[in-house]
């Protein structure tokens, strides 16, 4: 079964950028997009999602709140939190939710480690 990545960002441009970086690193992955936390949760209900890249600063619930909420239902899903806001409190909360920090603006290099780690983990889980 293929790997599906959920990209959540209120900025369409940011979703395009994340999608391009992921396509370069893992061309076979299927990408689905959501513009806010509610859309993300709806997508998670409808689809099998293997990993997620979440923007932090979004209208409504932010990416950290979404990550914490997702973590309850998906304890092992690789989740990245994308932000330029690397304040200690944000970092600590992301760490507690077991989310990986990815620095904005997103680049192929910047997201490479997260993608490689996620791919390894998914291979280990799915065999």
């Amino acid at each position: 079964m293929g790997t599906t990545v959920l990209i959540v960002d209120d900025s369409k441009l940011a979703r395009i950028v994340v999608g391009k970086a992921l396509a370069a690193l893992q061309p076979a992955w299927t990408k689905i997009e959501a513009g806010n936390a509610d859309e993300a949760l709806a997508a998670l209900r409808d689809r099998q999602v293997d990993l997620a890249v979440l923007d932090f600063n979004m209208p409504g619930r932010n990416g950290l709140e979404l990550a914490e909420q997702m973590r309850h239902r998906y304890p092992d899903m690789p989740i990245a939190l994308a932000t330029a806001n690397v304040q200690d409190e944000v970092v600590a909360r992301a760490r507690a939710a077991n989310a990986t920090f990815v620095s904005k603006p997103i680049t192929e290099d910047g997201i490479r480690d997260f993608v490689a780690g996620a791919a390894l983990k998914l291979r280990a889980v799915h065999g």
């Binding site: 369409k12 441009l13 950028v17 391009k20 600063n57 979004m58 330029a84 304040q87 409190e89 904005k104």
Partner: protein, 215 residues
């Protein structure tokens, strides 16, 4: 408010919001280091409005006197950046950036200087990030501390009768555990907006490329 043709299309507006978001997030990291407590930010609001409307937007929310640190920037695009908060928050901010170590008299003594420096760090952090991403240098003026209402803060000098359209960006911020909140705002006039539009177009091309959804 009149709805003239929008100078920025949807994707350009989206890109600008994202740029500001990244700039302000970095600025918040710098401010967090200065005050020692978490800084929370709203999602940026980007609007093209009449200059008078920009002043009204702030004045409607804030009836109390305001204090602002202002820095003008110039380069491929020009304008004014402001860190604005209610005047009653001013000493609390000075207390935060001096880590509660000064007496009341000492704080009053350095109030202006401490506010200017705080504004400088926040506004520079934001603008420098935007300039770097857009790959154009921006020259920043020295920070200036102003007191007044929205009207005074948003007047772009020398043009008393200026009813032109401006690009108005603002973000709410608050410092947790302290009674401090305010806005980071940016104003750009129309000629600047045209150059900004071109730079944003180049930025979009760089990150999205020309192939669009191909492949």
């Amino acid at each position: 408010m009149t709805h003239d043709r929008q100078p920025l299309d949807e994707l350009e507006n989206d890109a600008l919001t994202e740029l500001v978001n990244i700039g302000v997030s970095r600025a918040a990291v710098a401010l967090r280091k200065m005050v020692g407590s978490a800084v929370t930010l709203s999602v940026p609001s980007v609007e093209v409005v009449g200059r008078q409307v920009a002043a009204t937007l702030i004045r409607e929310r804030e009836s109390d006197p305001l204090i602002a640190v202002r820095q003008d920037f110039a380069g491929a695009f020009s304008g004014r950046a402001l860190l604005i908060f209610p005047e009653t928050n001013s000493l609390e901010l000075v207390r935060a950036v001096t880590h509660d170590e000064l007496s009341g008299a000492e704080m009053l003594d350095i109030e202006e200087e401490a506010l200017a420096e705080t504004g400088n760090v926040v506004l520079n952090g934001c603008l420098a990030t935007m300039a770097n991403i857009l790959q154009r240098p921006l020259a920043m003026s020295l920070p200036q501390v102003l007191r007044g209402d929205g009207q005074i803060l948003f007047e772009l000098s020398d043009k008393p009768d200026d009813n032109g359209v401006v690009l108005f960006l603002y973000i709410n911020f608050a410092i947790s555990g302290r009674d401090i909140r305010g806005y980071i705002a940016m104003l750009m006039d129309l000629p600047s907006l045209q150059s900004l539009k071109e730079l944003i177009g180049e930025f979009i091309m760089r990150v999205v490329g020309t192939d669009g959804d191909a492949r």
